[in-house]
């Protein structure tokens, strides 16, 4: 089971080309989607979940033609958008029952799944409270629960951990990993650490085009031999910042400990470091100065 995109293009009415001839295969398991703002990540996800139609291209999701059979796709897909509204006067349980109904679940199955998911996202004790009184984190958990309704074979999550505290973030990451099993989970995020710790494969898109696809390790290797640690006096930091590609800085007494991306040993004083996924991503997106 996988998602296949072939030469998918999306051009908005204003002429903005959000996706440009994108060809990508998303295999079973957790798959990360990285890219800067405006890269086309949300457009891609909205096309996958049938909220947008592509201008051109072919898409199959678990063998179903996305363009010809959107109704069938909606029944196997769960989607957690970055932001969406709630009926504030409904309780959490009532809202999930509504969402389950909208996924076409029969009443008996609906109730069972809602009970399960309320426990799973730790909202069972707040199930009878109106959603209007929920905190941001609670709303996000409720959103996750609605995405999981109907036991979707494909889960698309857009910035799922934004607004969660670290504990909730880890908990959610683990939940996704646990669910990954035989599902396709597409995780779009700005938080590279989420991808690093949860995804076995990822893609980087930029301005609608595919820049990279592979494993997190392969992306990290884009910065192999180009990551350096450099310690300089704090007073020189401002001067050096213009000339060096500094990706991290920490003050240690009167000195600054810098993490630098560079093809050469910066100032001849750098110590080589093992690259992280973030280094690889930055090296890919912005290049590495000589």
């Amino acid at each position: 089971m996988e998602i296949r995109l072939e030469e998918v293009t999306k051009t908005y009415s204003g002429g903005v080309r959000a996706l440009d001839d994108l060809t990508l295969t998303i295999p079973r398991g957790m798959f990360g989607l990285l890219g800067p703002n405006g890269a086309g990540k949300t457009t891609l996800m909205r096309i996958l979940v049938t909220l947008l139609e592509p201008t051109a291209g072919r898409i199959t999701i678990a063998g179903i033609d996305r363009l010809r059979e959107p109704h069938r796709v909606r029944q196997i897909i769960g989607y957690l958008p970055q932001e969406f509204g709630f009926y504030r006067r409904l309780t959490a349980r009532e809202y999930l029952e509504f969402a389950a109904g909208m996924k076409g679940l029969p009443p008996a199955q609906r109730r069972r799944q809602v009970d399960e998911l309320l426990v799973r996202v730790n909202l069972d004790r707040d199930a009878r409270r109106p959603v209007g009184g929920f905190s941001g984190g609670m709303k996000r958990r409720l959103g996750i629960a609605q995405a999981l309704l109907g036991d979707p074979r494909v889960l698309v999550v857009d910035e799922p951990t934004a607004g969660l505290d670290p504990e909730e973030r880890i908990r959610f990451r683990n939940l996704l990993t646990e669910l990954a099993g035989d599902r396709v989970i597409l995780l779009s995020t700005h938080i590279v650490a989420d991808v690093e710790s949860a995804c076995s494969a990822l893609a980087v898109i930029d301005r609608g085009r595919l820049r990279f696809t592979g494993s997190p390790g392969e992306l990290a290797r884009q910065a192999e031999g180009r990551v350096w640690q450099l310690t300089v006096p704090a007073r020189d930091f401002e001067r050096l910042r213009g000339g060096l590609r500094i990706v991290g800085a920490r003050r240690v007494g009167d000195d600054m400990e810098l993490r630098v991306l560079s093809a050469e040993n910066p100032l001849g004083q750098g110590t080589p470091l093992a690259p992280t996924l973030e280094d690889g991503y930055l090296a890919l997106m912005e290049g590495v100065p000589a």
Binding site: I64, F86, G101
Partner: protein, 719 residues
């Protein structure tokens, strides 16, 4: 719990492959759709009942229904609640529906639907269904309260009217109120806009009523007869808003729309802070024209309906100062009955379109005063001219004094004489500035003539109604008067009535042939028939008859045109329906977009008459009958050709030359004068054979050349 465990516990095993997945999702879609719809209905229902709107509306509607109906003698609760209470209910329902939709909008619930892969149709349908059912339930309770109030106050229900309202009026009105309010609430960008547009939509309700009032033509005959046969007043069948004069109200609505358009336009210009561009200026001009036009119409309307009547009232009062003397100073002491009438045989011909009435009557007059009378006094409203009177077969000349007639024949105490009279005149809608006080009612559909209007000779000296307190012509429950308070009366008499008119659906309080006694009840009035005096006749156009007549005329005209120039290229002549501006009946020019093909025949006025019989009586509508031979859909040159072709055909048909003939018409006329009419028509036939591309001016000239050449060689015909 792993994902697979979750799936197992949810009763489904994770699909091993694509095929299994496809099987799982291949469940019948109608079932899933039903689940979605039910989920929406359930959640929307919860939301609705957690808001105050339905409860406030319910309380208001029940209070209104019970209050309006309580103590009123009536089976006319349809009239009172439907026309006085229900509009308020509809307004509240629309405002609360729009508010709910607007609230969802502001709380980004659309984002919920728009942001998640849900099916939109069940959501939209479910939302409508919930609102509709809620208002239906509220309506049922309110109507039940009205019915209970009537029954508890000891009066019967008019079940036919109730049925009619529930079959026709309530479902349609609720659908209108709910759908429009939802749409407004979902689209309005601000709460103020939502309220404003909702109010406008509510005011637009009478347009709906207007449409419905002309809809009887679409009803199958048995249903039409059922409703017509039970004397349901027109407004009972179609009432949606107050019983206001439609034309007048439509003008008010037009004015409101124009003012609103103007305000929106100025607001838009102000917000954009730009120089007023040409489109804005044009729109502004249009809005101003609308305002001016509507205001002028209202002013004219006001003058016609109120000012004229008031002037006439003053004149009548000044001319009849002797009332007080006759009545001993107390209005309520009249009527006086120096004579009584009996054995009335009435023949009435009515024409609502012209507001005319012509009647003949034979009746017996008896002197009951105990004193000898030099003249026989009768009362007949001064609108009517007496054309002939005989007493015991001898012609006499009646002396007219205001609303009174004096027949110069002495009458001894207890003596009876046989009177025959004929009279005719125009019926006025009798209203005053300070309220809908009326003694007769006329609109474009009907004439209602209660006895107190004095439309037939009443016995003795009676002061005819000018103003019946605060009551309207229908004398509803809220009227403080009773029938006995009416300053006209009629002792027991036997009536025999025949009423006729052109294309009329006639209802009256007799059955046409059977002798009836006084106590005939007014259509739709609350009073038991034995309490009322005199006759009432109600007349309205029979839409079906008019439609049939229109269809026959259309068919005749088409046949005439076809006989002149058979259409071979595009099949037979066909009708085209185009839009009109609703209440003036002014047609718009047909265009290709209206379905007009080159050379097709447009009989706009008559076609409209099929659906809106009111236009049928409109002289302008009839004049449209053959005027439009659409020149649009052609090039400009072809259009000019065809416009004059049509003028020539009309000339052939009617013998009348066009007021503004053009060159082409002149050329055809010359051909006719030189070579005969058949030759000119032959030119048109040749032009018609060039359809659908249509002839060019060169083709026209060439055809004329050929025809004239043939004529020159002796082949011409004579007229």
């Amino acid at each position: 719990m792993s994902g697979q465990n979750v799936a197992r516990e949810w009763g489904e095993s994770p699909a091993p492959g694509v095929g299994a997945t496809a099987d799982r999702v291949g469940a019948p879609r109608w079932g899933a759709g039903l689940h979605m719809l039910l989920a929406v209905v359930q959640s929307q229902g919860r939301l609705a009942f957690r808001s105050a709107g339905p409860w406030i509306t319910l309380a208001t509607a029940v209070a209104l229904a019970a209050g309006i109906s309580w103590g009123g003698a009536t089976g006319r609760i349809f009239y009172h609640y439907n026309e006085l209470g229900a509009p308020i209910f509809y307004l509240l329902a629309m405002l609360f529906t729009a508010t709910a939709a607007r609230r969802e909008h502001s709380e980004h619930v659309e984002e919920l639907i728009g942001a998640l892969p849900y099916e939109a149709a069940p959501w939209v349908l479910g939302r409508f269904l919930v609102q509709y059912l809620i208002w239906l339930a509220v309506s049922v309770v309110a109507w039940a309260a009205a019915g209970a109030a009537v029954v508890l106050s000891g009066h019967p229900l008019d079940l036919h009217a109730l049925a009619l309202n529930w079959v026709v009026v309530v479902p349609a009105a609720l659908a209108y109120a709910t759908a429009l309010a939802l749409l407004i609430g979902s689209l309005a960008r601000s709460a103020v806009t939502a309220y404003f547009l909702t109010l406008l939509a509510w005011l637009g309700g009478p347009l709906f009523r207007l449409l419905a009032s002309r809809s009887t033509v679409f009803l199958p005959a048995p249903i039409f007869e059922f409703f017509a046969g039970v004397r349901v007043a027109p407004q009972g069948a179609t009432g949606f808003f107050y019983n206001v004069d439609l034309v007048f109200f439509n003008r008010l609505v037009t004015l409101g729309i124009a003012v609103a358009a103007l305000a929106v336009l100025l607001l838009a210009v102000a917000r954009r802070r730009r120089r007023v561009a040409l489109p804005y200026a044009l729109l502004l001009g249009l809005a101003l024209l609308l305002v001016a036009g509507a205001a002028r119409e209202i002013q004219l309307d006001w003058g016609l309906r109120y000012k004229t009547v008031a002037a006439e009232m003053r004149r009548v009062d000044a001319a009849e100062p002797w009332y007080e003397e006759l009545s001993g100073g107390a209005v309520m002491s009249i009527p006086t009955y120096p004579v009584v009438t009996d054995d009335y045989d009435l023949t009435v011909v009515l024409s609502p379109a012209h507001r005319s009435l012509a009647a003949r009557a034979n009746f017996a007059v008896t002197n009951v005063s105990g004193e000898p009378l030099k003249e026989i006094p009768l009362t007949l409203r001064q609108n009517f001219t007496v054309t002939a009177v005989t007493v015991d077969g001898e012609p006499v000349t009646a002396r007219r004094q205001g609303d009174h007639l004096f027949l110069p024949v002495p009458l001894a105490p207890g003596e009876t004489k046989q009177v025959s009279a004929a009279w005719e005149g125009t019926v006025w809608q009798w209203r005053l500035q300070d309220g809908p006080r009326a003694a007769a009612h006329i609109d474009e559909e009907s004439v209602l003539l209660p006895a107190h209007y004095g439309w037939y000779p009443l016995p003795g000296i009676q002061r005819l109604t000018r103003a019946v307190g605060q009551c309207s012509e229908f004398l509803p429950e809220y009227c403080p008067l009773t029938p006995r308070d009416l300053p006209v009366g009629h002792p027991q008499a036997r009536f025999r009535i025949r009423v006729s008119g052109t294309d009329l659906h006639i209802r009256h309080s007799g059955d046409g042939e059977t002798a009836v006694t006084t106590g005939l009840y007014l259509v739709g009035t609350p009073w038991p028939e034995e309490e009322l005096h005199g006759l009432l006749v109600s007349v309205s156009p029979d839409n079906r008859v008019q439609a049939e007549r229109a269809a026959a005329e259309i068919a005749g005209l088409m046949a005439e045109y076809e006989a002149m120039i058979p259409r071979q290229a595009l099949g037979p002549v066909r009708l085209i329906q185009v839009h009109d501006d609703l209440y003036h009946g002014t047609p718009w020019l047909p265009t290709a977009g209206s379905g007009a093909t080159p050379g097709s025949l447009l009989i706009h006025g008559q076609e409209l008459a099929r659906y809106w019989p009111g236009y049928f009586a409109d002289t302008y509508g009839i004049s449209v009958l053959a005027l439009w031979w659409p020149q649009y859909g052609f090039t400009v040159e072809q259009g000019r050709l065809y416009r004059d072709f049509q003028r020539y055909m009309e000339y052939v048909r009617t013998g009348e030359q066009p007021r503004y003939p053009d060159t082409v018409f002149e050329r055809l006329l010359r051909v006719e004068q030189t070579a005969g009419r058949e030759a000119a028509l032959q030119v048109l036939r040749e032009m018609h054979a060039l359809l659908p591309a249509g002839p060019a001016p060169e083709d026209f000239e060439a055809a004329i050349g050929r025809i004239m050449a043939t004529a020159d060689h002796g082949g011409g015909t004579t007229r």
